[in-house]
Symmetry: C2
Subunit: 350 residues, 2 copies
Amino acid sequence: MKGRVIETPVFMPVGTNATVKAMTVEEIKSIGYQLILGNTYHLHLRPGDEIIKRLGGLHSFMNWDRCILTDSGGFQIFSLARLNKVLEEGVHFQNHLDGTKELLTPEIAIHIQENLGSDIMMVLDECLPIPTKRDIVQKSIELTNRWAQRCFQARRSENNLFAIVQGADFVDLRIQSAQMLMETDFDGFAIGGLSVGESKDVMSEIVSHIAPMLPPNKPRYLMGVGDPVDLVENIGLGIDMFDCVMPTRNARNGLLFTFQGKISIKQARYKEDPLPIDENCQCEVCQNYSRAYLRHLFVANEILASRLNTMHNLWFLKELMAKARIAIVNGEYQKFKKAFLDVYQGSESG
Amino acid sequence: MKGRVIETPVFMPVGTNATVKAMTVEEIKSIGYQLILGNTYHLHLRPGDEIIKRLGGLHSFMNWDRCILTDSGGFQIFSLARLNKVLEEGVHFQNHLDGTKELLTPEIAIHIQENLGSDIMMVLDECLPIPTKRDIVQKSIELTNRWAQRCFQARRSENNLFAIVQGADFVDLRIQSAQMLMETDFDGFAIGGLSVGESKDVMSEIVSHIAPMLPPNKPRYLMGVGDPVDLVENIGLGIDMFDCVMPTRNARNGLLFTFQGKISIKQARYKEDPLPIDENCQCEVCQNYSRAYLRHLFVANEILASRLNTMHNLWFLKELMAKARIAIVNGEYQKFKKAFLDVYQGSESG
């Protein structure tokens, strides 16, 4: 999508299987999203990137005419697939759908992403759990760097390519990883391997060291983060881009964001509540439906519950990003952040 | 909804739990539907008709500003609830959600429907399986008639009230049932207790006897019918109104209507098929998505599959009703019917 502008900070809804779960692309557009994420691993397995290519690429396949970022598939291999084995050439694994043995190399990861026709491709990286022993992490960031170079060389398209900083919870290894990767002219830089169960302090410490050293003229992307508090904290540390399945998954589980905190719509207290989720929200759901109706749909296990709840949570995150942007432009981000966190965390009702 | 015109023949999408499954009311409106069906039994149990009343009635609760027909709850008691016992006063049953013992009388059925605020209420009737012994059916149609009179007397609103002709597969008892009910000034007449597993010949024989004897100036409603072939056949026999969960349930199971017959979108033959479900269809789904994409969504068990498939099937039925209406107005219904059935049945690919 040449020439398309993505305003930052930006949250990217995740469209794992060529659909943001429960939503149409028209709805995603109507909320105002310009950029969504597609999962290379899932799309490679089903329906297959070659099929998607023959059908005109992922944009055409899912009828989305705005931008798509694809991950490399690495994260899913390390979290979903069985018996993965990391070698210099790449990672061998058995896929989680039918156990077929497969190999993902940096070159294959780029080839798949070019078949999909994504606008922003990610390098293949090794994701380690936290904690992992230092010497293993040291070797891993070197491998991740060599894989990143191979991805850079393998690119045949004009699609953007982002590198991924790794290094588990070792700040100095994170810095080393970033320095190695910055020697190459990647189009953006991500911080990967966080939001995997570590403490908030660890994430905060790493991001506060790494974000400022990344090139100021290129996007900085913190992978796997979508909690409102984390978003606001990390925007404050210099992050431009985020993705996470949590906001849409939460929605399907009845957990809804409001600027006054999260609410669980299934609670009995909402049984006869005629108010919308959030009285100040301008989204289609809050304009048209009561908490009582949304609770009823959730309790009755209706598909419409997933739809309306997802619509609301994605609207909320769009609004949150828009407010953050205005605060940044006005030079009032710290004030905005404090005001948001005070109200959001103050009355969180779980 | 005073003054609202419903063009007939009309198919009513079923909104069991105050939602047509997988759809928003905006989508139902955008297709062109003026009238949907709500289930008294389900809504009485969950969230409860008293709650719906306090929240402004069913229209307000589900944000639907067009017409609603509600059934009486009888059919669900006879098909879903446990241990139902029919007495003169009404029917005792244990609800299927938590086994609570309840009583539904004609007066309660009307009271619930008035709480919901439906535009067209149905009388409480006894639904018998086919076959049932003649003497039992004879007694049953007399009870159904007495219950219908009690419903008529119990009405406190200006909502329409339709009676229901019963009589299992005995044509003479069906005629007797219709004659008894027609002595009262109901706003419309339904034929109930069909589409319960009997042969097509039985349905056809009964409808061809009963429909012509019902008042020509009042709607004739064949309950539980939604198969395209049955719709076209029964419109030909004089039926104006239909409802059925099948078209929306089929959609969720990947069975899609086209004017060339049904297709099962999960079939491997559609894996790389770039065509829409039906090349001549003007619905949003056929304008934007390929069979390959719809198959992928179905196989990946995505909510969007249910949404898009339901949207298409409801569009198809709206189109079918519109074409039937034009044929009736032009005095060409038999020609239309033959042409439709020839193509639809000729190439049915299951």
